[in-house]
């Protein structure tokens, strides 16, 4: 995709900026220039610190690409990989991190079953060992002892973006693009260009209605009707083919990530003004309200949809395409879908790439993304994302 390849070319120019501005330490600079002189490959590898300072764990972004080929095992960065941020992305990275840290043996039927290890990957290696080997990490062959540990914290998208920017953490989880999260802070183009965007999954929010409305025959609405409902221009269900009953339009907290995404995607403007009848801070409250009411409409996270219970989903029609629960809500054109980001800062280090690639693997997508009620990346996007962190970039 054009966007990703542009991002890739960004990596190169960015590294040059780092080199010229001397963001890296003097020693790293020396290493870099010699590496460049040797005709180093042009990809964004920066993980291994030079052998003299391998104990320095926090500044892996500062040192640059001097590991030209082979024999890096002595200088591999095996410090703890840290991530923090959005509670929406957290289930994916955290489940991934838990599996990773446990490093189960092939054939552990709960965590690394033979149906995956042998049939899909044809390996006898432990989980983390297997996925780390391509990046030059040596297998530990021990349970609970992965090649490097992953520690995943939980907060908000803004906190994650800020944390990765200030280099407190390696990976910043965010359910909204970094530019949206930093919109109020006056961060410039230069700052935003330093973020490397890895999309690890897609969240799609179905439109749900109260049981009574679904039973009365409302199965789908158009995007125009949805816009009208959330602007109080359509206030009765009979206007969209339902019973003669007021519409109770439910939304999320003003200014929250979900609210902003809704306005941006449905109305085309993140600052569009909407006036739902009632706003809630959490999906749980929303689910309860839709269940309690007999005239409500809401958009809600996938995990809270109950097709046969109190929150039945309905379809959304856009330009003749019908988006339905269980079919195509992960499509990029569905307005209530959003990418789940795992940001890195100033290129992606070997360690970060290794972990993100783990999340992007077929195993990761199935277990951590689909397993947590999110949508797997469609195949074409998955390929582009994998290329960004491919092990071949780090050889």
């Amino acid at each position: 995709m054009a966007r990703e390849s542009a991002a890739n070319s960004d990596l190169v120019s960015r590294r040059k900026i780092i080199l010229t501005t001397g963001a890296a330490g003097a020693a790293a600079l020396a290493g870099c220039s010699s590496g460049d002189g040797g005709g180093d490959s042009d990809d964004g590898s920066d993980s291994g610190s030079d052998s003299g300072s391998s104990s320095d764990s926090s500044s892996d972004t500062g040192s640059d690409n001097e590991n030209t080929d082979g024999s890096q095992s002595g200088s591999m960065d095996t410090s703890v990989l840290t991530a923090d941020g959005s509670s929406t992305v957290y289930p994916i990275t955290n489940t991934g991190g838990s599996y990773w840290n446990s490093n189960p043996e092939a054939g552990d039927e709960d965590y690394w079953p033979n149906s995956w290890a042998q049939e899909e990957y044809d390996t006898q290696m432990r989980l983390a060992d297997f996925f780390a080997q391509d990046y030059g990490y040596e297998a530990t062959e021990e349970r609970s002892n992965p090649p490097f540990r992953a520690s995943i914290a939980l907060s908000h998208s803004g906190t994650g973006v800020e944390g990765v920017m200030e280099e407190r953490i390696d990976i910043g989880d965010s359910s909204a693009p970094a530019e949206a999260e930093l919109a109020g802070t006056g961060a410039g183009e230069e700052t935003l260009n330093n973020f490397v965007d890895h999309v690890v999954g897609v969240d799609g929010q179905p439109i749900v209605v109260s049981r009574e409305i679904a039973d009365a025959g409302v199965e789908q609405i158009t995007i125009e009707e949805l816009r009208g409902i959330y602007r109080q221009e359509i206030t009765n269900w009979s206007e969209v083919g339902g019973p003669d009953r007021d519409i109770l339009a439910l939304g999320r907290s003003a200014g929250s990530g979900t609210d902003t995404a809704f306005r941006a995607n449905v109305y085309g403007d993140p600052e569009a003004s909407i006036s739902p009848d009632q706003r809630f801070g959490q999906n749980q409250q929303l689910q309860q309200a839709v269940t309690q009411a007999d005239n409500a409409i809401a958009y809600i996270a996938l995990a809270f949809v109950e097709p046969d219970g109190g929150t039945p989903p309905i379809g959304l029609e856009i330009d003749g395409t019908l988006y339905e629960y269980g079919k195509n809500l992960g499509a990029q054109d569905y307005p209530l879908s959003r990418d789940l980001h795992a940001y890195t800062w100033e290129d992606t280090s070997r360690k970060e790439a290794c972990f993100i690639n783990f999340l992007l693997s077929d195993f990761g997508q199935e277990i951590f993304v689909a397993g947590n009620n999110y949508f797997k990346l469609p195949q074409d996007r998955l390929e582009t994302q994998r290329e960004m962190v491919a092990a071949s970039n780090y050889e």
Binding site: G184, A254, G255, E271, P276, Q278, R279, Q292, A293
Partner: protein, 383 residues
């Protein structure tokens, strides 16, 4: 009447003059007092005090600037305190208690200045419209240059507070009269602690009951436009403010001197006549203070209101329509939107809501204290 007002104004003027005079005198005498203090304090005590205060100030400064370095001055302060405690116990105790009060006041000042500083952007951006605007849009969050107005939130706070007061004041006063004047001793001993226990129930508990039962009741039975209303929230907040009103009003009624009641009874009044015509009028200031304190509590209540209101901002039509689809107060907007407002105008407006709330609650408690002070003066300070 005008004579009374003039007398009041004169009294206030005299009070201001006296205060200024006291401050001027204090500063004029300051050098003398310092000299006097130095004369009376042994050299080693002076040194300990100096080390203590300087190290405390340094610890505070480092704690702010680089917390890692605060340990050394803090240890020095602890050392100075320990030495002082052994050698000059009285003086050290005096200095420590003084330090504690200074810190308390300093924290208050810091909070106020923090609030005001952070809300400045909002006031500069919106001007008077931040406080008074009757036309939508009221709230274009999180846009940095959108329109923001606190007016609908102030209306929301006013509506819930008025409803809460209408519940808490009559019930609270009636309860206080019963407990203080009518109930037999055995009943009073059970009911009074019970009511004080009521004040200890966490507000989210009230909110949860309100959310699942009261809101739902109004929605299904009376078809309120949303599963939330100012009325339902106001009722719940009123119940929460009830214990405050009862216990303060009861104290006021109990502080009416027994001699006044006995006198009334001796003149042949019945107990009810005594209560109605002697006790309640005598304790009127205290009972008003109780209601005002209850109002302050209702106004600042956050948790229950946050889960019970609809969080949409707008002017009900008419403005006192407590069953409209709108529902947001000064407190709930902060609680529900602060996690999403990182920096920028949105956050500043929330701080402005905090300032408005702070000022209103402060005015209320000053009013309550003034009323209480008058009561003590009127009844000769018998408690």
């Amino acid at each position: 009447m005008s004579g009374t007002i003039q007398r009041r104004i004169q009294a206030v003027r005299a009070w201001i003059d006296a205060t200024i005079a006291a401050i001027v005198t204090w500063f004029r005498e300051l050098p003398d007092r310092i000299r006097d203090f130095l004369d009376r304090t042994p050299a080693d005590a002076q040194a300990i005090l100096l080390v203590g205060f300087v190290s405390f100030a340094a610890a505070a400064y480092f704690f702010w600037r680089s917390p890692g370095q605060a340990a050394t001055p803090l240890a020095l302060f602890a050392g100075a305190t320990a030495v002082g405690w052994i050698r000059h116990r009285g003086r050290t105790a005096k200095a420590l208690t003084m330090l504690a009060s200074v810190v308390t006041v300093a924290i208050l000042l810091l909070i106020i200045s923090f609030l005001v500083l952070h809300s400045r952007d909002a006031f500069e951006h919106m001007g008077a419209e931040l406080l008074w605007r009757l036309e939508p849009p009221f709230w274009e969050a999180p846009s940095p240059d959108g329109t923001y107005s606190l007016t609908p939130l102030m209306v929301g706070t006013a509506l819930t507070t008025v409803i809460a007061t209408m519940i808490a004041a009559p019930l609270g006063i009636a309860g206080a009269v019963f407990i203080s004047e009518m109930a037999p001793r055995s009943v009073r001993e059970v009911v009074k602690p019970g009511i004080e226990l009521l004040a200890g129930i966490p507000s989210i508990t009230y909110g949860f009951v309100g959310l699942t039962i009261v809101n739902q009741y109004f929605y299904t039975e009376f078809q309120t436009p949303t599963i939330a209303s100012y009325f339902a929230a106001g009722v719940m907040i009123g119940l929460m403010a009830l214990p405050t009103v009862v216990s303060v009003a009861e104290d006021a009624l109990a502080s009416v001197p027994e001699s006044m009641k006995s006198g009334s009874l001796a003149m042949g009044s019945t107990e009810w006549q005594t209560t109605k015509s002697v006790t309640i009028p005598a304790a009127f200031s205290g009972v008003s203070a109780a209601v005002l304190l209850g109002v302050g509590r209702a106004m600042g209540e956050t948790m229950a209101a946050t889960v019970m209101l609809s969080h949409t901002k707008g002017m009900p039509d008419p403005f006192f329509d407590v069953f409209s689809r709108y529902g947001e107060t000064l407190t709930t907007v902060i609680a529900s939107e602060a996690p999403n407002a990182i920096g920028g105008m949105h956050e500043s407006v929330l701080f402005a809501a905090g300032v408005v709330l702070f000022v209103s609650v402060m005015l209320l408690s000053i009013m309550a204290q003034y009323v209480e002070w008058r009561m003590h003066r009127k009844l000769g300070g018998q408690q």
